[in-house]
Symmetry: C2
Subunit: 252 residues, 2 copies
Amino acid sequence: MSQQRHGSTPGEAGGVPAFPDLPEATIARLPEYLRALHHLAETGAETVSSEGLAAAAGVNSAKLRKDLSHLGSYGTRGVGYDVSLLVAQIEYILGLDENRAVCLVGVGNLGHALAGYAGFASRGFRVVALFDTDPRKVGEQINGLTVRHIDDLERIAAEESIAIGVIATPPGTAQTVADALVAAGVTSILNFAPGVLSVPSNVDVRKVDLAIELQILSFHEHRKASLTALPGGRSAAASPDKLPDNQKAVGS
Amino acid sequence: MSQQRHGSTPGEAGGVPAFPDLPEATIARLPEYLRALHHLAETGAETVSSEGLAAAAGVNSAKLRKDLSHLGSYGTRGVGYDVSLLVAQIEYILGLDENRAVCLVGVGNLGHALAGYAGFASRGFRVVALFDTDPRKVGEQINGLTVRHIDDLERIAAEESIAIGVIATPPGTAQTVADALVAAGVTSILNFAPGVLSVPSNVDVRKVDLAIELQILSFHEHRKASLTALPGGRSAAASPDKLPDNQKAVGS
């Protein structure tokens, strides 16, 4: 989920093309559209209707058309969108043609899992460095990379042109690590530690907070329990309104 | 992030209290408010202004006041909110007074990391079972739990009243696992596998998709590079508009 969103203005006059400033929610849906489009391309589809792509991505089609209009992509009435063109447009906007260097700080259980995450490489992100403060971890080999001490961050970040830092440290050290990443020239951070980071306005932060995700699910469980509670305080049976398993997800 | 959001109506007539149907974005911010409030309580603060709480949670204060108004919490002009009362209100809404049983399916690198995640227990979530399909993993002991075969899911889910399932399997098996969880009576799913799950409308899904998070950051990197590109195609220096490290994050 997003931590902060800083406003920005389109490209300056003088020949630089304007880059769309998309709503954060739209940005978050583009990768889902891309995944669905890749699947469609694999099946040989050349075009896709907005309804078809929306269903594959789990959103309603009006929202999808609105999202894609931000990219200047409107589809053709009665036909829909050209799959390979739309793939190219979304990949361009997401900057996926670049191969971006990623570093990971914090090599505990979660860090090990992230360091081994195959999905990074398959999407054009290269994990180029792993850092920790624990001398017992420095020197460990993971996935062909050697864990380095955090003191080497600034030098290695410059050598490798690291743009994205992933923080997988305990909560107490996350801000210090963020400060070090920013000082080393990193301008995007993916934070797995709980809490809100303070960063300059040119640094983007996405956070993945398991505790928050669980609490959100807890809210929904509580709400469902409240809705099924009968007068007098007795609860309904454990599985009140179960629909058949093959029911498609309702678009949001 | 949310996968689907299904509408719901407030409590029925006949004595059941109405449960607020909050916007998903509000629900996602409540745990951040709660974390900030816990820190404030630890420092001995008895009240907090909306501006103070908003700054601690990384949001703007108008948004915070709107969120809390959904809970029927309006604060006192000139004073703000009573910390312990607001903690109680948010914990109630999030259903955190219940101790919810969680199971984890998929015991690879990520599953190991999640099984050892201390944050579950500290927030009233008990990981009560681990499942995998790989016979080499079944029987393995992790954090005091024994990995069981997925065939045992339905029985154990009933015995333990499991409400929340965490999916940490490869992408190809996630839907099958979701189907099994739903059949076993699980009504909330936290999904780490890429892709959109199909579930009945009474099942809530939150997803954590690292690939999407990275692609969102890639968008922001691309946008920043476009904004700093000079006429003639030359890019500005690597760290164009760096602000001092101690600058507070701008509220969203």
